[in-house]
């Protein structure tokens, strides 16, 4: 019979994948939220939008989803959050050098003009992180004010 060997191969492949997935769970991964040492003070609508759309990747107040515990997704999510925090971390905002803060503000202003921030895959998993036009405008206006203030002191 033609199908029997195929079925056997599929069953073996399924077992192999299951073993790999189970073994992957044994690789230790740290999903941590370090202390908040200098949170950015974004008020009103801008603050709400910032917390709702940006804080999971760009702060130490990440809301880790349940699937962040499951490898190999956990590896990808942990790496993304690590890079996100290193690029800009609103929980340590006040510890940045003034020059660093200014250039991060400029990048944030530029990112807000792009539709791909927050990233598409993240918006798909977190509908609450989809910025409305009004929220994007509020964030842009607030950050533009911060850039102006920071530039004035440089």
């Amino acid at each position: 019979m033609g199908l029997a060997p195929v079925g056997k191969y599929l069953a073996r492949a399924g077992v192999a994948i299951a073993i790999v997935l189970i073994a992957a769970q044994l690789v230790p991964i740290r999903l941590s939220n370090p202390p908040v040492t200098g949170d950015i003070a974004a008020p009103g609508e801008a603050g709400i939008a910032l917390r709702g759309a940006c804080y999971d990747c760009h702060s130490n107040q990440t809301g880790w989803p349940w699937y962040a515990q499951a490898a190999p997704l956990s590896w990808w999510i942990a790496r993304d959050v690590e890079y996100g925090r290193r690029q800009v971390n609103f929980s340590i905002w006040n510890t940045y050098y003034p020059a660093t803060r200014l250039r991060k503000l400029e990048w944030i202003g530029r990112s807000l003009k792009q539709p791909d921030m927050p990233p598409k895959w993240y918006r798909a998993m977190h509908p609450g992180a989809r910025l409305t036009k009004a929220q994007r405008a509020a964030l842009s206006a607030w950050f533009a004010g911060q850039v102006a203030a920071a530039s004035a002191t440089q």
């Binding site: 890079y83 290193r86 690029q87 940045y96 050098y97 660093t100 250039r103 400029e106 990048w107 530029r110």
Partner: protein
């Protein structure tokens, strides 16, 4: 025999072509690329001068043990560089001026600059 001579000549040509491909092609690919190295705590060189009005290829090597991000707001580029990795950053023709770059993952690394003249 003439046939044998032409075969030998062809083989010699093929060997020469292989050698050229192996040793010359990579040099051509990297030709014109400027090199920036991130060593412990700083960029080498800190400042580099490039011709204005020409596309630029920058090769950034991270020889530190830490992940870095080569970033430049003025060049509108940001790229993660893992330890030991070499990345290539391409930018269009630059207007004369100074374009700073930095390691976005480590604010203690002094920024460098590319001067287009």
């Amino acid at each position: 025999m003439p046939h044998s001579h032409s075969t030998k000549a062809l083989l010699a040509l093929a060997a020469a072509a292989l050698v050229l491909t192996r040793f010359v092609a990579p040099a051509c690919a990297a030709d014109g690329a400027v090199q920036i190295k991130l060593v412990e705590g700083h960029f080498e060189p800190q400042t580099l001068t490039v011709p204005a009005g020409q596309p630029l290829v920058i090769e950034v090597t991270n020889v530190t043990g830490k992940t870095a991000e080569f970033e430049s707001f003025l060049l509108n580029r940001e790229k993660v560089v893992e330890p030991g990795q070499v990345i290539t950053v391409r930018v269009g023709p630059l207007s004369p001026g100074s374009y700073d770059f930095y390691d976005d993952f480590n604010q203690a690394v002094p920024q460098g600059s590319i001067v287009a003249r």
